[in-house]
Assembly symmetry: C2
Homo-oligomer: 222 residues x 2
C-alpha cells in the first residue's frame, strides 16, 4: 500500500470533471450524457478503481475486460491512460467523500464519530485502496487539482479535524501527532480491507476488528 494520506487530500476539491453531476463550472456543449453513456462511464470508473486497487500496473485491457467493455470503448471515454486515472481519482474521491459525509463526523463524541468514520471507510475500502494504495496515484493526478480552488472550509469535515478535536478532548492519544493518527487510520483500514480480500478476515468482522485495533492496539486489555 503505502496508505499515504499526506496533505489531507480529502479536503481538496477536484476540478469539475464530473459531467453527470452539477454543471456549475463550465460549458458542457457535448452530448448531454444520456443514460447509456453515464452507465458505461460509471462501470469503467468502478472497474478501474477495483482493478487498480488490487493490481497497480494493471493494463488498460485488464480494466476494459473487468468493465466488460471493449478496449476501444474505454479509449472512447478516456482517451488517455492519465485521463482515466484522473477521472477515477476524482470519482473515488466523490464516493469516499459521500460516504464520510454521511458519517457526520463533526457531531457527537469523538470516539463514536471515529467509529462511524471507520465504518464508512471500510464500506468504501476498495476506493481507499485505490486512492492511497500507491502514493504515486495521487501525486501524478495532482495536476488535475486546481491549486487555487482551495476551499478547505466549505468541504466535508476532514478526518484530521476529528482527530484534532478528539485529541483536544483527551480521547485520542495526545502524545503522537494528529498526522500519525491519520496515517494509522488509513493503514489499519487498508489492512482490514486487504485481510478480507484474501479471506484472512470475514467481511462482517472487518469493521469491528479495525475499530478494536484502533482503540486498543494489539495488547490485551486488563
Amino acid at each position: 500500500m503505502a496508505v499515504s494520506a499526506t496533505r489531507q487530500p480529502l479536503s481538496r476539491t477536484p476540478v469539475s470533471d464530473t459531467p453527470e453531476a452539477g454543471d456549475a463550472g463550465e460549458r458542457k456543449p457535448e452530448v448531454p450524457e444520456t443514460g447509456v453513456r453515464g452507465r458505461t462511464r460509471r462501470a469503467i470508473l468502478a472497474a478501474a478503481a477495483s482493478v487498480l486497487a488490487r493490481d497497480r500496473g494493471a493494463t488498460l485491457a485488464d480494466i476494459a475486460e473487468a468493465a466488460q467493455v471493449g478496449r476501444s470503448t474505454l479509449h472512447r471515454y478516456f482517451p488517455d491512460r492519465q485521463d482515466l486515472l484522473n477521472a477515477t481519482v476524482a470519482d473515488s474521491f466523490r464516493v469516499v467523500e459521500r460516504s464520510i459525509a454521511a458519517a457526520a463526523i463533526d457531531q457527537g463524541p469523538p470516539l463514536e464519530a471515529m467509529r462511524r468514520l471507520i465504518t464508512a471507510m471500510v464500506d468504501v475500502g476498495d476506493r481507499l485502496a485505490f486512492l492511497f494504495g500507491d502514493p504515486r496515484v495521487l501525486e501524478e493526478s495532482n495536476a488535475c487539482f486546481e491549486p487555487d480552488t482551495f476551499e478547505p472550509d466549505r468541504t466535508v469535515p476532514t478526518a484530521l479535524s476529528l482527530i484534532e478535536r478528539g485529541q483536544a478532548e483527551g480521547v485520542f492519544d495526545p502524545q503522537v501527532s494528529a498526522e500519525w493518527i491519520q496515517q494509522m487510520l488509513y493503514a489499519i483500514t487498508y489492512t482490514g480491507w486487504e485481510a478480507a480480500e484474501k479471506g484472512l478476515l470475514p467481511r462482517h468482522g472487518v469493521t469491528s476488528t479495525v475499530i478494536r485495533t484502533f482503540e486498543n492496539g494489539l495488547t490485551a486489555r486488563s
Copy 2:
C-alpha cells in the same frame, strides 16, 4: 503497500541463491566470487531493494543508476529482471532474518520481545517495504522457493510464534487472530517507515511511536 505477510514467509528458507555465503548446497564451479564481484553484487542488491521499496515499477536503468553501475553491468550480474527480483527477495530475507534473529524474540517476556522485534524490523524498514510493499513481489518470486525445503522448525523464530506465545500468556489481544496481529505488525512498521521517509516523523522517533501504537492503539490511556 499492502503489507501482505501471508503464509508467514519469514519461516520459509529460500533456495540457495547466495553465492558469497556458505557453499553447502551445490557445486559452484564459477568464478570464486572475488571481493570486487561480491561488492558490486551487494551494491546492486541493496540499490534494488531501496529503489523498488520506494518505487515499484522502477526501471532497470533506475536501479543501475542508484547502484552507481552501468546497465550492462547489472545485466551481467542478473541477466533477467526476474533474476534480479528473485535475488533481491532472497537477499532481503537474509538481511531481515539476521536482524530478527538478533532480537531473540523467543526469550523473555512477550511484550519486551515484541519491542525488540519492532526495533529490529524498523531497522530494516526499507527491506521490509520492498518485500511486503507489493504482494506481487513475493508471489512472483515464489517460484524460487523450493516447496520441499520446508524447515519451519530449524529456522529463525517467527513473529507468529511470538504472537501466539504472547496471546497464550494473556499479553496480546486474544480476541483477534494471531494472523491479524501479524498483519498489523507489518502495517504499523511500514507506516512508521513511510512516515519517516516523507519527513512526517523524525527517524529517531519511529520505533517508539510504532511500539506505542502497537501496544496502546490511538486512544489516550487513562
